[in-house]
C-alpha cells in the first residue's frame, strides 16, 4: 500500500522556457491546483511571464537566482537547467517536474492521466532493483511478485526517482527524429518497472519526480554542451544528471522506476536544424556510458552529497582529460554540492 502523502509534502517545479504559460497551466489546472508550484523563469527569457490566476505558487527570476547563488558561479541555470534552481530552493520531500511544453496525456481508456498522482504512487511504493519481476511493478494493483522471486527481496527499497514517458513527441535525439520526422509515440505501455541495479539508462528530464530528501543534490545542472540550446535535443544536461543519479541510487541502495505516467509533449522545433547545429551531445555518450558503468563509489560515501563529490572527482580524473566540457562539469558538481549545503537546507523566499 502506498504511504499516504499530504499535498503539502509535494512541490511541482516548472522551468519556464516560454513566457506565456497560460495554456500549459490551464491544461494542468485540475491536477496541479492542489499543490504548491515553483516556477523558475529561464534567465535568458526576455519577456515577462504570463501565468493564470488561481495557483499557489512562487516564481523565481534571474534576479532571484543571482541573489541566491551570486553572479560568479560555474553553474549556469539557463535553459532547461533553470529548473534545478527550483529543486534547490524547495523545502518539500517530493518534487514533480514537467517541461513547459507538455500537457496531460490520456491513458489507454481515454482518461486524463494524473501524472502527479502516478509519480507519487511510484515514489511511495518500494522499488525492486535486485531481481527483475516479469509482471513489472509488483506493488501495482492487480500484480505481484511472480513464482521464483526470492522472498528475502520482496520488501524492496525506497524509490528515489520516478521517470515518466511521453506521448506524441518522444524524447528522441535530433538524428533519430530527423530520420523519422513523422513518427509520434502513440503507444500506451501500462506499466511501471524498477530499473535494475547497475543498469544504466538515459534519464530524461521532461517528466520526472524524485524524493528530494533522499537524492536531492544528485540531480544536478552541471554538464553544458558547447552549443546547448532551448530544445531538448540540443541538450544533454538531464542525461548527465540522470547517469549520476542512477549510479548514486545504486550505491545507496535506492530504487529508480520508469514507465507511467505519460505526458503529452507538444510538437516543437526542427530536428534537422538542431542536427546541423549540435552533434557533440550525441558523441559524448560514447565516453560517458563506459565511465559510469565502471564507476564504483567508496563505502564511506553514505549521503547523496558525499556521492556527488566522489563522482565529480572521478569525472575530473577520468573524463576531464578527454574534453574540457567534463572538467567544467566536475567543477560545477563540486560547486553544486557547496551550494546545496548552504542554500538547499536554509530558508529562502523570492525577493521583492
Amino acid at each position: 500500500m502506498p504511504i499516504p502523502i499530504k499535498d503539502d509534502e509535494i512541490d511541482i517545479v516548472i522551468g519556464a522556457l516560454h513566457s506565456d504559460l497560460t495554456t500549459f497551466m490551464d491544461a494542468w489546472r485540475p491536477i496541479f491546483s492542489r499543490f504548491h508550484l515553483i516556477i523558475v523563469k529561464d534567465p535568458d527569457l526576455k519577456e515577462e511571464l504570463r501565468i493564470p490566476e488561481g495557483f499557489n505558487l512562487d516564481v523565481y527570476k534571474k534576479l532571484d537566482i543571482d541573489h541566491v547563488v551570486g553572479t560568479s558561479t560555474s553553474i549556469i541555470f539557463s535553459g532547461y537547467s533553470c529548473r534545478y534552481f527550483g529543486y534547490l530552493v524547495s523545502r518539500k520531500k517530493y518534487i514533480v517536474s514537467v517541461d513547459d511544453d507538455c500537457l496531460p496525456a490520456k491513458d489507454n481508456k481515454g482518461f486524463l492521466v494524473d501524472a502527479v498522482a502516478q509519480h507519487i504512487t511510484n515514489l511511495t511504493t518500494p522499488a525492486t532493483p535486485f531481481f527483475f519481476n516479469t509482471l513489472y511493478d509488483p506493488f501495482t494493483e492487480g500484480a505481484d511478485f511472480v513464482r521464483g522471486y526470492p522472498f528475502s527481496l520482496r520488501s524492496g527499497v525506497t524509490c528515489a526517482l520516478s521517470c515518466g514517458l511521453w506521448h506524441n513527441l518522444a524524447d528522441y535525439d535530433a538524428p533519430t527524429q530527423a530520420l523519422k520526422p513523422e513518427e509520434r509515440n502513440s503507444r500506451y505501455v501500462d506499466a511501471v518497472l524498477t530499473v535494475p541495479a547497475r543498469t544504466l539508462m538515459p534519464i530524461s528530464g521532461i517528466n520526472i519526480a524524485f524524493n528530494r530528501d533522499a537524492v536531492g543534490p544528485a540531480l544536478l545542472p552541471c554538464l553544458r554542451l558547447a552549443g546547448e540550446g532551448k530544445f531538448r535535443w540540443e541538450t544533454m544536461e538531464d542525461i548527465w544528471s540522470g547517469m549520476c543519479v542512477k549510479v548514486i541510487c545504486d550505491h545507496l541502495g535506492l530504487g529508480v522506476k520508469t514507465g507511467i505516467p505519460y505526458v503529452w509533449r507538444n510538437d516543437r522545433g526542427d530536428a534537422i536544424a538542431s542536427l546541423r547545429k549540435e552533434w557533440e551531445g550525441v558523441k559524448m555518450m560514447e565516453d560517458v556510458v563506459p565511465f559510469f558503468q565502471s564507476l564504483r563509489l567508496p563505502q564511506e560515501a553514505t549521503t547523496a552529497e558525499d556521492c556527488v563529490v566522489e563522482v565529480a572527482n572521478a569525472v575530473n580524473e577520468k573524463l576531464g582529460p578527454k574534453d574540457p566540457m567534463f572538467a567544467r562539469a566536475a567543477k560545477a558538481m563540486l560547486d553544486w554540492v557547496k551550494l546545496w549545503k548552504s542554500v538547499g537546507v536554509s530558508s529562502y523566499s523570492p525577493g521583492a
Binding site: 489507454n108 531481481f131 527483475f132 519481476n133 516479469t134 509482471l135 513489472y136 501495482t140 492487480g142 500484480a143 505481484d144 511478485f145 511472480v146 513464482r147 521464483g148 522471486y149 526470492p150 522472498f151 528475502s152 527481496l153 521517470c163 514517458l165 518522444a170 524524447d171 528522441y172 535525439d173 533519430t176 523519422k180 513518427e183 509515440n185 502513440s186 503507444r187 500506451y188 505501455v189 501500462d190 506499466a191 530499473v195 535494475p196 541495479a197 547497475r198 543498469t199 544504466l200 539508462m201 538515459p202 534519464i203 530524461s204 531538448r232 535535443w233 544533454m236 542525461i239 540522470g242 520508469t258 550525441v282 555518450m285 560514447e286 560517458v288 556510458v289
Partner: protein, 366 residues
C-alpha cells in the same frame, strides 16, 4: 475481466514465418485439446509432443498436425542410461523435446494455455510475436526507456549511445500470461482470486547482469544460440522439488547469455492461462525451493565464467562444476543436479553432432 480468444477469431497469417525452422514443443500428461484453438497459428509448424506420465496411455493429437511424439519408453530407448537426466511426472520433461529437435528455433507452450485477446479484441498470434522478438536484436547493455527500440513506432531515446544501437542477437523470448498469473504457492494461497488483466504492450531486453524468474509456459528460444543451456533440471518423481524447472533453466541461460553477449527479451506475447494448479500441491513441490532460492540466487549473481568458455556447452559444464562446488552444501540434491547437467550436455552433443558430421533424420531416432 479477461477472456481467451475463440478459435474462430484466430486468423492464420498469410505467410507463416520460419515454418521449416521452428519446432513447437509441448509437454502433456492429459490431452492436447487446446491445440484446436491454436490451429490457425500452429498448423504450419512441426510439433514435438513429450508425453509425461504413463507411457501406456495414448495421447490423441488432433488431426492435421505434423508431429512426433515421445513417451517415457521412447526417452529411455533413445537416451539409454542418460535418460536419468530427464524428469518424470513434471513438465520439465519438455526439455527432451529441445534435445531431439532438428530446428533452429523452439517455441514451447503448456497445454492449458490458450489464445489471448489484445485490448482491441484481436486474437494474439503468440508464435508470430515470439518470432519477431527473436529475429530482432536485443539491447542488454543500456536500458531503453521506450522499451524495444526495434518495434514499430519506437526507437532509441536521446542519450542512447550510437555504438550500442546495433544490439546483440536475441537468444530467448519470454512471453507473459493473462488470467491466471504465474504466482508461487504462498501467493496463490493468499490471493486465490487475483487475475492478471493488465495487457502491457511492451517487449524489453532484460539488462545484462540482471536475473529474472523465467517461466516455461510461453517461451521461445534460438536452439543454435542457447539450446544446450535450456536444461530444465531434475524435478518431479523421486526428486525433492518441483516447479523450479524453468526457473533453474532461466538462471543458467541468463548467466550464459550475459557471458556470451546474447540477449533475453520479456513481455509480449501474452497467452491466456486457463488453469490454476492446486496451491496446496504446489506448496509441497515448491517448499524446499523457497528456502533454497535464497542461496541459489546469490550463487547465480556471483557466478563468473572464465574467458575460455566460448561455447554454450563449455559454459554449462563450467556452471555444473560450480553448482557442485558451491551448492552441494545447501543440499545433496544439487550434487545430483550438477551430475545431471553434465549428463544432459553429453546427451545433447550425441544427439546434435556438429554440422558436417553424421546427421540424424527428422523424427524418432532408430
Amino acid at each position: 475481466m479477461v477472456e481467451p480468444a475463440t478459435a474462430s477469431l484466430a486468423a492464420a497469417p498469410a505467410m507463416p514465418q520460419l515454418k521449416d525452422e521452428l519446432d513447437i514443443v509441448i509437454p502433456t500428461i492429459r490431452n492436447l485439446d487446446f491445440l484446436e484453438m491454436w490451429r490457425p497459428f500452429f498448423q504450419p509448424y512441426h510439433l514435438i509432443i513429450v508425453q509425461d506420465g504413463d507411457p501406456s496411455k495414448t495421447i490423441k493429437v488432433p488431426p492435421g498436425f505434423d508431429y512426433e511424439l515421445y513417451n517415457r519408453n521412447d526417452i529411455n530407448k533413445i537416451l539409454g542410461p542418460k535418460a536419468s537426466c530427464i524428469s518424470f511426472k513434471d513438465s520439465a520433461c519438455r526439455c527432451f523435446g529441445y534435445m531431439v529437435s532438428k530446428k533452429k528455433y523452439i517455441f514451447t507452450i503448456d497445454d492449458d494455455c490458450f489464445v489471448a485477446k489484445d485490448p482491441s479484441g484481436k486474437a494474439v498470434n503468440a508464435l508470430e510475436q515470439h518470432i519477431k522478438n527473436m529475429l530482432s536484436p536485443s539491447t542488454p547493455f543500456f536500458f531503453n526507456t521506450l522499451y524495444d527500440p526495434f518495434r514499430e513506432g519506437a526507437d532509441f531515446v536521446r542519450g542512447y549511445p550510437f555504438s550500442l544501437r546495433e544490439g546483440v542477437p536475441t537468444a530467448v523470448s519470454h512471453g507473459l500470461w493473462l488470467n491466471i498469473p504465474d504466482y508461487d504457492a504462498p501467493t496463490q494461497l493468499v490471493k486465490p482470486l487475483e487475475r492478471n488483466t493488465r495487457f502491457v504492450d511492451a517487449v524489453l531486453t532484460i539488462p545484462k547482469g540482471t536475473l529474472f524468474p523465467m517461466c516455461g509456459m510461453n517461451l521461445a528460444f534460438d536452439r543454435d544460440l542457447i539450446g544446450p543451456a535450456m536444461y530444465f533440471g531434475l524435478m518431479g518423481d523421486g526428486q525433492p522439488i518441483g516447479r523450479y524447472d524453468d526457473m533453474w533453466a532461466g538462471w543458467c541461460i541468463k548467466v550464459i547469455c550475459d557471458h556470451l553477449g546474447l540477449g533475453v527479451k520479456t513481455g509480449l506475447p501474452y497467452i491466456y492461462h486457463s488453469k490454476a494448479s492446486n496451491p496446496f500441491v504446489n506448496l509441497r513441490k515448491e517448499y524446499k525451493g523457497i528456502f533454497w532460492q535464497e542461496e541459489i540466487i546469490p550463487f547465480f549473481q556471483q557466478v563468473l565464467l572464465p574467458k575460455d568458455c566460448t561455447t554454450v556447452q563449455k559454459c554449462y559444464i563450467e556452471l555444473a562444476k560450480q553448482v557442485k562446488e558451491k551448492l552441494s552444501k545447501v543440499d545433496p540434491y544439487f550434487d545430483k543436479l550438477a551430475d545431471a547437467m553434465v549428463t544432459w550436455i553429453k546427451a545433447w552433443d550425441e544427439l546434435n553432432p556438429p554440422r558436417g558430421g553424421s546427421s540424424m533424420p527428422n523424427g524418432k531416432a532408430a
